[in-house]
Amino acid sequence: MTGVVVSSPHSARVNRVDRVMLQVVLALIPGILAMTWFFGWGLLINITLAVTFAVGAEALVMRLRGRSPVAAISDLSAVVTAVLFAIAIPPILPWWLTLIGILFAIVVVKQLYGGLGYNPFNPAMAAYVLLLISYPVAMTTWLPPHMLTDHPLSLLDSLRAIFLSQAPGGSWDAITAATPLGEMRTQLGLNRMIEEIRHSPLWGDFGGRGWEWVGNWFLLGGLYLLWKKIITWHIPVAFITGLLLLAGISWLLDPQTHPFPAFHLFSGGAILGAFFIATDPVTACTTKRGQLVFGAAIGALVFIIRTWGGYPDAVAFAVLLMNIAAPTIDYYTQPRVFGHQRDS
């Protein structure tokens, strides 16, 4: 009977970090399948690469830190980071860029700050931003959805593109396309009206063709996370509200130079960001009121950067900016403790 006496509670614990992480990965599957359907095998190859690199990097750093690599890998946090990063990057990004990104995410952004739980910045988004700033061309070279191209890439084509940087048919121009957000930005920059822009076959009902349906599948996964109580509604709802509010106001003011709100929501990384990235517990606010502020501010920043900033999409920048602010927001949004007077 003698042994380590452990303080109460003596009940069986109901949550586990690896189960939380596994649920996040499961919730990403619908979106991943949808993206694969529209954009080909590249994403799956990138996920495989990124996960391999991430697990390897995590194990390496843990070994250097003199800790158990198995424990760190089995919490699956590196896998989640890798999958999110792979979803964010273009499906034909050269493999060595993925390697750079993952090394930066795991080694610098996560482990150098102390590992899981201690990193102030979202590792996947920090790595994405690093690559976007350093390799803007590669990072903005997207494939068009399969219905808009005559040459959908086969598995072999994708492998060759990623590992050998060989364009199928010898020319990248023939097979790549801008993202809808990029396209919208370029066209608006040419002083064209939304109505004109949307005449192009690139556009579907409310966003880029193909793209507009990817968000739905990520939304499905996000709702699954809500149902499983992995995340709470605060950050996603605040994020979407913040984004829609600003987008809605400017659209009402001038519908010819501002795309309508749903376009913002279902183009680029907004849904993914709202449910999977901004909700990363380590780097987000922890108080409920703080989460509302945090989410709304990211939503607003996404709109601001997309509209007036230098990059077509902004989720990564917005998330990183708010990561910095999270501790301060937490500090000022502490809940009223039981039995304490309400603050004036």
Partner: protein
Amino acid sequence: MQATQPRFKQRQLWQFHGGIHIPDQKALSASGAVEPMPCPRTLILPLQQHIGAPANPIVKVGDRVLKGQLIAEPRGYVCAPVHASSSGTVIAIDDRPVPHPSGLSAPCVVIETDGEETWAELPEPLADYQSLDPAVLRERIRLCGVVGMGGASFPTSVKLNPGKDRPIHTLVVNGAECEPYITCDDLLMRERSGDVLQGIRILLHLLGARQCLIGIEDNKPEAIASMRLARAESDIKDRVEVVVIPTLYPSGGEKQLIKVLTGREVPSHGIPAQIGIVCQNVGTTAAVADAVLRGKPLIERYVTVTGRAVARPGNLLVRVGTPAADLIAQRGGLRQGQLRKLVCGGPMMGFQIDNQAIPITKGTNCLLALTHGESPDPGPALACIRCGRCADACPASLLPQQLYWYARAKDLDRVQDYNLFDCIECGCCAHVCPSHIPLVQYYRYAKTESWAREQDKKKAEHAKARHTAKVERQERQERERQAKLRAKKEAVKAKPAANSPAEGATAAEVDPKKAAIEAARQRAAAKKAALAEQGLAPKNTEGLSPAQQRQVAAAQARRQAAGLGEPEGEAKSDPPTQALGQPQPAPSRGSEAEAPIPGPEAEIFSKEQA
């Protein structure tokens, strides 16, 4: 009878933040009547079964004691007496293992029972309590050793004395029993609802309270029905209400239950009496009825023996002081190889015990023998991922994660900024933590450290006050001595002055020594004036030997090097100072620069002599 019962209007209930739903596991032990436990061979009665000072034993080894006899009297106000829970002989008064999280031993009176159960003479029943002063009733409750039976064991008489400036309007009776597994209050409400109601009647009179709310979680339908029936049959049914509350841990916490029933929050660091409420456990209420109406001290209680490692889980009526092992044996013993840990209390707030010899005390509500399946090893704690589930679950609206952070960093100030002392240690945060961090353990640690620091601070302040007083005393004594000396001198002076009239010349004649000193002083002054005319400052080093002079110069150089400036402004004009000053090491420790450093000085001296 149904017709006489007024329709309950649905009472509005409130919610506290957080809380968790956990499988209540009460079915294990809730079936079947309470089994009276036979008298054990030995009874171990700890002198401290309550919050407050230990009681003072008034029996000796070898004394024969009777059932219900006072064996230890209260020492101080916040204290409770101890009574023999059966008749027999005192065989020892010494330290025995007691039910305490520390696992330490504490003084106990050990009685070898004779099996005769001979009762001592009990105090008169106070059937006519309505005409008695509350103070008399409180004294009776105190003398019968009644303490809170929900677990905290605070002396009930103290709790029932909120003071004149705190009028009580509501008595809250706690039948929530929110901890999983435990069913002793459930059984008590089923079997002794009449006594509970009588206790309530006494307490309402004693407190002058208007109404009584009995809060019971909705997972105890039989207890609810039984209490409603007892209420309907009682003559205070207009003032008593049985309120069914949703099952949510920890709604049985005093502050949480009050919030659920009344919507009011007990102020932080405060007590319910500050908002006109007193809260008592149902078991305590029955014990009050025993004490007042029967003169019976608190010597037995209901105890749940449960967990899947016990052969026959159920409830027992146990004499206080019965060893835990006897209870387990009474319920069929432990299942072979099933026990992972034995817990005193519930799974959420109880503490592990390693010694089955520990006795049941007035506050022990449950013995819980958990299997590996029921209480698996949570494994090593992982890093906090800041998910905030702890904050969602916290019934005090704290930020457990921040508390953990600062407790781990031993930042006791910040921990208190985050209201550590509002933590009730309910365990919700640790229960939901995905990283399996033993959060409550950290908070207990931080609380203990804070108390220790507070203690140290007090000690330091005390020492400082003592030191100041000492210094003052010494100064005062010195002043007094000086004053005495002066007075003596005056007296001595006054005597000769009285003999001869005051004249300088004659005074000198009277005291030749003084005259000589005065003459010397005048000579010195004249010399000084003469030197000043020549533009030279007086020196008291002139008459010294050259060796001594060099030594003095060296000392001055060191002083200068230490930045102390030149004494009497003369080092500048003294060339040997510079020359000899060089090889001298400057004092290395600045704070000691003023003090003469013996080492180098002595060295110089010996060199000079050589």
